[in-house]
């Protein structure tokens, strides 16, 4: 008889709970934040756009770490976590692209333009779509894991390029308002608070989703090996 497994573990449940709570708090702060002097309430899409892009970057960085770890220790679990990171990263980077377009139309005047930040981000997105296509194309688990790890590591080079593109090249996209490289903040206090809470909420939800996806993959792997 098969052992009944618990639907999750305590850490994951706590992360989900904390992430959703912070998301609600962040939503409140985002709606309570003052309008921007130039953009009015339009600037509020930032509280969704910036955390989405951040989690996209974070997820691909996580995929880089798991891919490298797989190549060192060759444990299938590490390969699964790399793939889980990429899946979540694509969802959030896609969200960042869509919210960015919705923000761009009323401010810049167009949904899309081939400027450096947008182009490097589109490349980043395409590389990880390729990662998933590659995974589905290779049936041998060892080969699949090795090939995926290679793409996971090489693809991550584009993360800092995309982040720094607004500083390295002339772009239409504005530079960072919370600048990680210089530590400068170009926002009012209430806006920074709303952004930071949302950044925290999205980051924690990323960890929660990563653990959930990892659990699912593990179960799926077991089912296949038992069959």
């Amino acid at each position: 008889m098969q052992k009944i497994q618990k639907p999750g573990d305590l850490v994951t449940t706590l992360l989900v709970g904390l992430g959703l709570t912070l998301l609600a708090v962040g939503f409140y702060f985002a709606l309570a934040a003052p309008p921007d002097a130039n953009q009015g309430y339009l600037a509020r899409i930032m509280y969704l756009h910036v955390p989405s892009a951040w989690v996209g970057y974070l997820a691909f960085f996580s995929a880089l770490l798991y891919s490298a770890a797989y190549l060192i220790w060759r444990r299938p679990g590490l390969d699964r976590m790399a793939a889980a990171s990429v899946e979540i990263g694509l969802v959030f980077l896609g969200l960042a692209l869509v919210t960015g377009m919705l923000w761009a139309r009323p401010t810049w005047g167009v949904y899309w333009t081939w400027e450096p930040r947008l182009t490097t981000t589109a490349i980043l997105f395409a590389v990880y779509v390729g990662y998933l296509v590659l995974r589905s194309a290779i049936e041998d688990p060892d080969l699949r894991a090795k090939a995926s790890a290679a793409v996971g590591i090489l693809g991550a080079i584009n993360v800092p390029i995309s982040y720094m593109s607004v500083k390295w090249w002339r772009s239409l996209h504005q530079t960072q308002s919370l600048d990680l490289t210089t530590g400068k903040v170009h926002m009012d206090g209430a806006m920074v608070l709303a952004l930071l809470v949302n950044l925290a909420a999205f980051s924690i939800l990323f960890l929660a989703l990563l653990r959930l996806r990892g659990l699912l993959e593990k179960r799926g792997g077991k089912l296949v090996s038992e069959a």
Partner: protein
């Protein structure tokens, strides 16, 4: 390898190739400044270029009937008159950073697309803004 996987890989590689060699290659220099134009005028004649700079204060003329927009773009050193047809984006104003896509037509730059840059500074409209101004900001950017 199944055909659908091969197809998927081809699509992704083609998309990447297009993005890297088409999109990025052309756009590493996303726009040129008026000074750069005057350094090498022949190079930019009668081809599609993006011109970036600030909207010179006091230079904006907009006719609401014909949608004809004229202004001067400046990088603080050199200036180029721009003509454009169409309603400018809500954030378009004097001293705002803009990027205009279009062609040089003699001394004048004929814009086809007008993009407005905005800064990374976000500030609440605090002291110095009247309630009417606040209302205007919120309504204009709806």
């Amino acid at each position: 390898m199944k055909p659908k996987h091969l197809f998927g890989i081809v699509v992704v590689v083609a998309a990447l190739g297009y993005l890297i060699f088409g999109g990025l290659g052309r756009n590493l220099v996303y726009f040129i400044t008026p000074s750069e134009y005057f350094q090498d005028q022949a190079r930019y004649q009668s081809r599609l270029v993006r011109l970036g700079g600030l909207v010179k204060a006091g230079s904006v003329q907009y006719n609401k009937e014909t949608l004809a927009l004229r202004f001067v773009i400046t990088d603080g050193v050199r200036e180029i008159p721009v003509s454009h047809s169409g309603t400018p984006p809500a954030l378009f104003k004097e001293n705002q950073g803009v990027v205009v896509e279009g062609r040089f037509n003699g001394e004048e730059f004929k814009g086809q697309e007008l993009l407005v840059k905005h800064s990374e500074d976000y500030k609440a409209p605090g002291a110095g803004y009247s309630p009417e101004q606040l209302k205007k900001i919120i309504q204009e950017t709806k």
